[in-house]
Symmetry: C2
């Protein structure tokens, strides 16, 4: 738990000015580098001390049995848990006779910087050994966004004032021992020594280790290679054993002399390919990395990021914390998705093993919207991964007695890994969330190839699920009973409004898309009768409404339940799920995370402005935000109903989730969806960006504490920029063909010339209240921000 | 699975005419002997072959962790599992050089008889060894109902035609290896070697073993002593080791000569007392048993049973299978409860380790009503056990954020052992079921001492639970949301009618009893304000009703759900819970076991006759009877609404559950509640016995296939008998003071003279239908019964 923010507030960097051992684990997550394929936690070069050592490869997991006190039909039997693979980032240093360890000796300075434009983590330290030998240490690390198998580290030791003997051991280490994870259900399982050695060998400048996971049978190869610059007489030695590869570099440095090493690391894995094949693969990746060289990798990294920021940057004047946080968020979203390439984007990305490295619905609902408008290829890749898991999802649907595809609540490989069905299997909305992501991506890109090869089948199979899951009642309404919406404090309820409305969109989109590709749809067995059934179910979809209160119940009967006794709930009793039984949470009006309010956002077309205002105010009083997936949605609705200061407060909460460790578990990995929520809160919230019915609309308004908000986005081959102040909004087409947009309900054409429009004043009602003690922290107004 | 009934149909005995190895495990349950304290499965004397070796002591259990794939607040962490204690019933026989084993040689005859009046299991066998040596074997076994620590076996071997050497090894064996239990969740855990040896020692005629369970720390002592009658030259030898005590008897028998042994066995256990103390306890129990001698034990056993049958026998003319079954049922109910003495009565009694030896709500709801009217002391004992577990139940309520006491769904020692909360923790009705058993017992006995010492506090603490679990809604109705009723195919629903009506009775009874004992109630902190709150909640209790269909929904919204697709469900897909996910069962109209219909029975005072007929018919179409706790209740309601043939069919199903192994799991132990249901179906069903508002009422009618039904019962110090034919009912007061009764709604006084009343004809509507393929087997009419 970080009581004081650990990092300086700067627009393009995250800088830690001194090393804090208390926040070491959090910093490892914050400083994690990844490209979506390979991820390195921000562990210190020398490996110790650490919070959680971590090196991850997307989709490299081990299997573990899921235990049940009382088993039931259809319970998944096998968990997939991301594992810590071979650690290639270790560089241990011995100075004279003493190991460099920040816990000993005298650490004069220690600075780490995550540079959001360079895509590097750099470190500088001045240290005096216990025996009194001073030195300077510098290292810079990157995980290449352009060569996805590759990471590299530049490492420099400099003698200061006196000569010294320096020995650097650069290692590959498999099966590192991990700390006890404790009992928080949100933390990962600990798998002891998951890697079985298959090969250890030496190359001219490094070593290769090949291992295989015991149960999942995945083969993992890691290799390292080095470029060494040191004084004459610098000696090197290579050795390897089953779980270790080691290059030892020994040198004698006079004051001012340096030992500089560049370590190239490469990873490869496969469930199919042979040991020689994965061996050769990593050796080849190393050769390519050496060809680029350290400077080449650095330059490629910056170019990649420059291109990204060109279509993605968000500027926030007046709230420098949010300014920093939204760039931090975008950087990590990019890192998680850039090179995932037909693999999932996990809830924690590749920054930690929280939630066992699983991916959930929040990828489609929170992360993909950001990528869709900033790096659309990554969205296509992530949805292509879902498409590839269709066989598992079809099997699961069949097991559950349903048609179509039932996607897993949590998974790495596509099979359901959830051990508590009321808030997983029953949360069928994930199917509609995937469909929604498909619709959004196609709308934002016009990618017809994707629509044909991926989209149509996803829409078809999810629509089939809804048609078989729901049924018409006597009055002809289409009901979906016994399911769980996004709010995990109510489960197994009838006609969850969010679920029904998202299913409605799914059914309509499937019918329309099938209509556009009749021949292809026919190959999937879609008939006119089937699409008519989808349209009919969508048209008849039951959306419960409480006439008495004039609000939508989150699900049928919800508003009849007792309200949670917030007054009797102490601040130390949050999150409620750790202090109260599910049975009590489920049967009372208390909301963990936006559910009906998420429907107000994503299906805003289904509500009147008056309904939105009433519903939002009603659910504000019940929502405790025990999930990181809530503040951003509340920001969006607060902004829409004109509660701009409240929206700003929620923007702040979403933005600072990890930089301020608001949920005290950033140590297990970053909250990727909350990071994405920062962008959503700013762009969909304050920017009022919506895409209903194929048109791109904005309704921007900024709160008093933000003097200027500007954001860039990619849309149907164009690059756009919107800039908003309290008085006006300016829209600029940075590249691409002219298009029609909407500003506060009024259409306009955007061509070569920027278009300026006045921002109408908001007419909010009274500020909605939150449960006692659960009010969001107030953002300071512009003049108060340091 | 028994395809053909395994036993002859006789009024007072269960006789197996030949040994069937396929039904061995079932027969071990059917032939189990117990007194509620000690239970022996009907294993063969020689131990092998066996289905499941079993020797049980009430409340001797081992602890085991309850695993969860995803843990949650308030989940029980520790299971209590009944264990197989030291086996004292082993008597192995060696004939010349060959072991007597029914799987080898030539088994000419093999007969076993459970005698329901003698209280013994006897066995006769004629066997020729593989080498051609013939012999006769006879044994008789009893578990004493009068000396609860004691069992005894008379064992005789006779040489036939040729001389033979016979060696009998009489043993005590601890930590027998047990068969793999497979994966059915209703079966027990298997605990390997749960007993740690503390002592093995020899006495003059036997041995003593003392063990202790590893985690629960319970000390168990078993001892044996022998009386041997054999020809001159019969030699004996005693030995012991940590897990075994053995008496070896060697003799040479001429044709016609016999070796006769009586083996006395005694058990004792304690969580507190020292090793010497439990050692001495069992040695003393053996001394008392030897003092009685075999004949004395036999005579005491018969006298105990004679007294029981005098006030409990049920006669059924016209359906000899049901005649046998109801006596078999009463015998096993008595065995389970007679000497349980402040210990629980488990779902399987002491006949097997199904459900880990746990006790559930069915003890109070099905078993105790039978004991209340046939052996009321046992009911008082069982409820006193519940009272003793109040501290655990109060802790559990506090953990769940509730007032009063939350009794465990399944337990041995009083702590919750259930690993799936939606159908356990949420099934709060167990509190009302216990309260109902208290009310029934006090009504049937007038036991004021019990009411003061046990009843009032149980009623108070359960009423407190209801008052804190429910709440008034805007209209002032008292709602109980998010709970699970008896039907486990719907869970976590609002205003389950059964729960609400039983809670209503509980609240009223608590208020009334507190009113009768104001000073004592004051000591429990009960105030007039509190009882007023109970009365008010009871008066305002919400009972949902579906005006459109004119029936009560089982719980709110139930009748809006889709009906289960019974036509698409194959016969091999029952029980549904093993073939369909809970999520699908919960959200559809399908009923595992009587729930609303159980309310129609137990709270019959809350419904009109027309409502009962409509509700019963509605739920008949939805009820699949995947639980053994359903047929009896359906029999009761079928009889009440005049569907006498249907009632008879359900009587048959309840009656033959174990004798015909209808659920294919009698091997794990008898279905005690279903056995009790046989009596309930006959006495409350065909006899129409009810006790609302303090009066004892009958409304008897017999179906065409039963020509005469007679039953005896104990009531407020009296012994009554009712005898019913198609035309009339005769009530006889066998002992005790005159009293008022009611016959089909008309009161009459019963004194010394029997009273005869005509039976009015039933006016049933059309026979209700059941789900396709789930109709009960039709009972044959009188003339068809063999």
């Amino acid at each position: 738990m970080i009581e004081q923010p650990a990092y300086t507030v700067e627009p393009w960097r995250i800088r830690e000015c001194e090393l804090s051992l208390e926040t070491l684990a959090q910093s490892e997550s914050v400083f994690a580098l990844s490209n979506g394929h390979l991820g390195l936690r921000g562990n210190l070069d020398e490996g110790e001390p650490h919070g959680l050592p971590g090196t991850y490869l997307n989709s490299v997991f081990e299997l573990a049995p899921l235990p049940y006190a009382e088993a039931g039909y259809g319970y998944p039997e096998c968990d997939q848990a991301a594992i810590n693979v071979t650690n290639g980032k270790l560089l241990r240093l011995l100075v004279n006779d003493e190991p460099f360890d920040v816990r000993y000796g005298d650490l004069l300075t220690h600075e780490r910087i995550l540079d959001l434009r360079a895509g590097t983590l750099s470190r500088r330290a001045e240290w005096i050994s216990p025996a009194g030998c001073p030195l300077h240490l510098r290292s810079t690390r990157l995980v290449s966004l352009t060569q996805r198998a590759v990471a590299a580290i530049e490492y420099e030791v400099e003698a200061v004032d006196q000569p010294m003997r320096a020995v650097v051991q650069s290692e590959l280490v498999a099966n590192e021992s991990l700390p006890d994870p404790g009992r928080d259900p949100r933390v990962a399982h600990r798998l002891e020594s998951p890697l079985q050695p298959e090969e250890d060998s030496l190359t001219e400048t490094g070593a290769v280790l090949v291992h295989r996971t015991r149960h999942s049978g995945l083969r993992v190869a890691a290799a390292m290679s080095h470029v060494i610059e040191g004084p004459d007489g610098t000696a090197t030695e290579l050795e390897s054993a089953p779980d270790i590869g080691r290059l030892t570099v020994a040198t004698r440095l006079e004051p001012g002399q340096r030992l500089r090493m560049v370590k190239f690391i490469a990873y490869g894995w496969s469930g199919e390919r042979s040991r020689p094949a994965v061996h050769d693969q990593v050796v080849a990746a190393l050769a390519a990395a050496r060809l680029s060289g350290w400077d080449g990798l650095l330059a490629d990294q910056r170019a990649f990021l420059d291109h990204f920021w060109e279509g993605a940057d968000v500027e926030v004047d007046g709230d420098s914390e949010v300014q920093q946080a939204v760039r931090f968020a975008l950087f990590h979203i990019l890192q998680a998705g850039a090179r995932a390439e037909h693999r999932p984007i996990a809830a924690k990305g590749l920054t930690g093993t929280g939630y066992d490295g699983h991916t959930f619905w929040d990828t489609e609902t929170f992360v993909l919207p950001v990528l869709t408008y900033t790096r659309p290829d990554a969205t296509a890749d992530a949805l292509t991964w879902r498409h590839r898991t269709l066989p598992s999802a079809r099997d699961r649907a069949a097991q559950l007695g349903l048609e179509g595809a039932a996607f897993p609540w949590r998974t790495i490989g596509g099979e359901e890994c959830s051990g508590y069905w009321p808030t997983s299997t029953a949360a069928f909305h994930i199917g509609a969330d995937i469909a929604d992501a498909v619709v959004r991506y196609v709308d934002a890109t016009g990618d017809e190839e994707f629509e044909r090869e991926v989209g149509l089948e996803l829409l078809t199979e999810t629509a089939r699920l809804w048609r078989s899951l729901g049924q018409h009642d006597t009055e002809g309404r289409f009901r979906i009973d016994g399911v769980t919406g996004p709010d995990e404090y109510t489960a197994i309820a009838d006609n969850n409004v969010y679920t029904n409305l998202m299913a409605q969109r799914n059914l309509v989109a499937a019918a329309e898309t099938a209509c556009r590709y009749p021949e292809l749809a026919g190959r999937f067995g879609v008939t006119n009768e089937e699409t008519a059934g989808w349209r009919d179910a969508a048209a008849a979809m039951h959306v419960p409404y409480d006439e008495r209160l004039g609000v939508h119940p989150q699900s049928e009967g919800f508003t009849d339940h007792a309200r949670w006794d917030f007054a009797a709930t102490g601040p130390d009793q949050y999150p409620l799920l750790l202090h109260f039984p599910y049975f009590d949470l489920y049967r009372k009006q208390v909301v963990k995370q936006a559910d009906l309010v998420l429907a107000l956002h994503l299906r805003g077309d289904a509500f009147t402005p008056e309904q939105k205002a009433r519903d939002f105010a009603y659910y504000e009083r019940l929502t405790v935000r025990d999930s990181s997936l809530s503040a951003c949605t509340q920001a969006v609705l607060a902004a829409e109903v004109g509660q701009l200061e409240l929206a700003h407060d929620y923007v702040g909460e979403a933005a600072l989730m990890d930089l301020h460790d608001l949920e005290h578990n950033t140590r297990d990995g970053l909250h990727l969806a909350a990071l994405a929520g920062t962008w959503i809160a700013l762009v969909a919230g304050l920017g009022g960006m919506r895409c209903f019915d194929g048109g791109l609309a904005f309704a921007p308004r900024v709160p008093s504490g933000i003097t200027r908000l500007a954001f860039r986005m990619r849309y149907r081959g164009r690059c756009l920029r919107a800039e908003v102040t309290h008085d006006s909004a300016v829209y600029t087409l940075l590249s691409g063909a002219p298009l029609s947009l909407s500003h506060h309900g009024q259409e306009f054409s955007l061509g070569r010339e920027p278009v300026e429009r006045p921002v109408p004043a908001a007419t909010p009602g009274p500020r909605p209240s939150q449960p006692a003690g659960r009010e969001p922290a107030r953002r300071r107004t512009a003049t108060q921000v340091r």
